[in-house]
Amino acid sequence: MASVLSLLRPRNNTFTCSCYCNRFYKFKILRMLPIDPTKKISFTRHICDGDLVVVYERHDNMKAIKVCQGSVLQNRFGVFKHSDWIGKPFGSKVFSNKNGFVYLLAPTPELWTLVLSHRTQILYIADISFVIMYLEIVPGCMVLESGTGSGSLTTSLARAVAPTGHVYTFDFHEQRAASAREDFEKTGLSSLVTVGVRDIQGEGFPDEFSGLADSVFLDLPQPWLAIPSAGKMLKPDGVLCSFSPCIEQVQRACDSLRSNFTDIKTFEILLRTYEVREVKMDCSQGDEAKPGSILPRKRPQRTIEGGNEQDKLSSQTVMARPCSEAKGHTGYLTFARLKCLS
């Protein structure tokens, strides 16, 4: 049976479905970003053959799938036919043969970060969103990145520079660079992202980019080796970011930044999540309260008219508390601006 994660090769805006059904389609395929204004999500936009959708089973269980006329999705809820999906709006609930259901969502860089295949450790939304803000990336910017890794941050960088900017990303691992390229094809970002195979620590960034970069992002084991080159690539007052898990790396990076960079800041950012539950609180009073009971009394007593009985009342309250599990550390983010020396 056809693979559900299929790769389509665009040729002159026609697409071959790789499930051997030999059909050619000329469709407005929904990709990740509305680079073409006619392709963005809307009330009127429905799922088409060839679209990339995110299948949502649970908040921690999602996958990205290319819709294909003859394909199916099989999971613990049953068998889902792609053909049932075609023509439905995004955000729809769809059913399996066993009446199980999933939701079909339009892909976004945030969802992509949660579903992409991890070839390396990736950056998550807290770090990604802060980096984009602090690197001051807006449409039209040119951004350099190394290493590409699994392309999690790259996807968000592409969104930030679209439609007129560009991201040049480099990884020294040929296979990973190729996988990243495939992913960007899948998500429709190839016009915004160029993946190069290059050892930035050893060779620096290519000279042709000198003085053209608005921002540079480094996620390397020894970023201080790449910092001099980054300094040549950046426009004056351009911003650099270096992500390092270990404080020793941060210290060496900051040392090498001090000569040509200013405004050097290092941060840690984490997200604390909360769970919400409706809790039933027992409001019994006095004699009826069990010894050692920890039920708080939230509401005043209401007596029944004419009666002496105390009602055992219960009230429903929505309460929130932090989740017990949390990420303790991802990495340190060091930002700096290139000194303005002209």
């Binding site: 955000g91 860089p109 039209g140 941060v250 200013t262 290092t266 950012i269 604390r272 919400v276």
Partner: protein, 456 residues
């Protein structure tokens, strides 16, 4: 890309200042932050002297200026810092081998400095530069040599800040504007910290060609940040209950090009609603209540502005009616207030509104500390396209918890999450690396989710 004619129509990201542009002046490394508009007549007060800002026009963002006593009196002059090596590190290693200094003998009795105030003033009038005065202070300090190298560096920096203040010319960007406000007037932006703002923009998938619906009751910071990310395409529609739009004055500080400004529009919720009859009445009722609150907020903004000009954070924030110029310290020459730039925040056109009714907005962001979230959300969700993400910011947890619960019950959204961002800054210096002593303990809560299709 010519950077000389920087009327920023075509250039998305101008890096050189121009006459009439908005700038953020960073005095002494973040000690004092001042927004200003550059013109021939604008000035800045440092200490007890007033300096013209004219030398700053036409300079690249990121330039440094220092105070100079020239022939025409005192002025701000551009200077280029030398590319210095890491002197302290080298000396530090050397020192640790020879002697370990500590502060056991240092007594803080205010008698260490033998240079008097009068002598300093005399030096100044003879034309000594700030750096020369700092050197003189060091030479006349009895305890300087006894201090550790790190302590000496700290002392030197402190004196430099006082006698040789430096002004850094910064670009107003979502990041710098948010940080400046959070530091000085956090209440005006609802305590929205820069990492919370960045999360809102990501979670709501703000990108070019999006149509973003926002409820911005944080002075316009949110609207401006969204518009920056849209880059002149799509729309950011700032909606409001009742008939008075909320103030979005902060948008003016952003230096947004005309193209981007055109994309910032406003529309009352009643105009955007899909159903014409029943709900609009309720909306009006709530809206009128909010109107009164909204007026209070606007008034607060005004009185804050009046206060601020004497406190040192001068802002260019004329009122909606654009009559009174609330700035007293920074004299902005009226000549520059031409109607050249497109005013952001025009009423949304009927065409646009019809388009949004037909297609839906691609995402929603709410930052409304004063409003009842659930009733607002109930009215806004139908305006969102299917599978559109939304992000709601609030200072308090309970309203978000209630919303999240109701959304779950009503099966209106999935992927619901309440997050609280935690941000900590580190000081990284040789042998002195540790988290900063000061920290912001709180930046708000965010409820995010994706609207699902309530279909048949």
């Amino acid at each position: 890309m010519s950077q000389n004619n920087s009327q920023s129509d075509t250039i998305q990201n101008p890096r050189v200042t121009w006459e009439g542009c908005s700038v953020l002046l960073d005095i002494n490394d973040g000690d004092r932050l001042v927004f200003a508009r550059l013109s021939a007549g604008s000035t800045l007060k440092i200490g007890n002297k007033t300096y013209s800002l004219q030398p700053l026009i036409g300079c690249p963002f990121g330039s440094l200026f220092q105070v100079e006593n020239g022939d025409q009196g005192h002025c701000l002059a551009r200077f280029v810092p030398s590319i210095e090596g890491n002197n302290i590190q080298e000396k530090g290693d050397f020192e640790s081998q020879d002697e370990i200094k500590d502060n056991r003998a240092l007594v803080d009795n205010n008698k260490a400095q033998s240079l008097t105030g009068e002598e300093i003033n005399a030096m100044r009038s003879q034309g000594a530069t700030g750096d020369e005065i700092v050197e003189a202070l060091i030479a006349n300090s009895a305890t300087f040599e006894k201090k550790t190298l790190f302590s000496q560096e700290k002392y030197r920096l402190k004196k430099q800040k006082k006698y040789a203040p430096k002004v850094l010319l910064r670009r107003p960007f979502a990041r710098s504007i948010c940080e400046a406000y959070f530091k000085k007037y956090p209440a005006r932006i609802g305590f929205l910290r820069v990492d919370a703002l960045s999360l809102l923009l990501s979670m709501a998938n703000v990108s070019a060609n999006s149509d973003v619906l926002v409820v911005d009751m944080v002075g316009g910071l949110l609207t401006g940040a969204v518009a920056e990310r849209l880059g002149g395409t799509g729309y950011v529609c700032s909606t409001y209950l009742g008939s008075t739009p909320y103030s979005i004055d902060i948008v003016r500080i952003f230096n947004l090009s005309n193209e981007i400004c055109k994309r910032i529009v406003r529309s009352p919720l009643t105009d955007l609603s899909l159903s014409q009859n029943g709900t609009s009445e309720q909306i009006h009722q709530q809206g009128d209540e909010i109107n009164q609150q909204g007026d209070e907020i606007n008034m607060e903004c005004l009185s804050n502005n009046q206060m601020s000009s004497s406190v040192g954070m001068e802002e260019i924030s004329p009122t909606e009616n654009d009559t009174s110029d609330v700035i007293s310290e920074t004299t902005v020459s009226p000549v520059n207030r031409t109607g050249k730039s497109t005013k952001a925040g025009n009423k949304a056109s009927k065409q646009a509104i019809d388009l949004w009714k037909e297609n839906g907005f691609s995402s929603l962001i709410i930052a409304a500390p004063e409003l009842d979230l659930w009733s607002l959300l109930k009215d806004l969700l139908p305006l969102l396209a299917n599978s559109a993400p939304f992000a709601i910011y609030h200072q308090y947890l309970q309203p978000l918890a209630t919303c999240m619960h109701n959304l779950q019950l009503g099966k209106m959204a999935i992927g619901l999450q309440i997050s609280e961002p935690w941000l900590r800054e580190y000081q990284v210096l040789p042998s002195r690396t540790h988290p900063c002593m000061q920290m912001s303990a709180f930046g708000g809560y965010i409820l995010s989710g994706i609207k699902i299709c309530s279909s048949s």
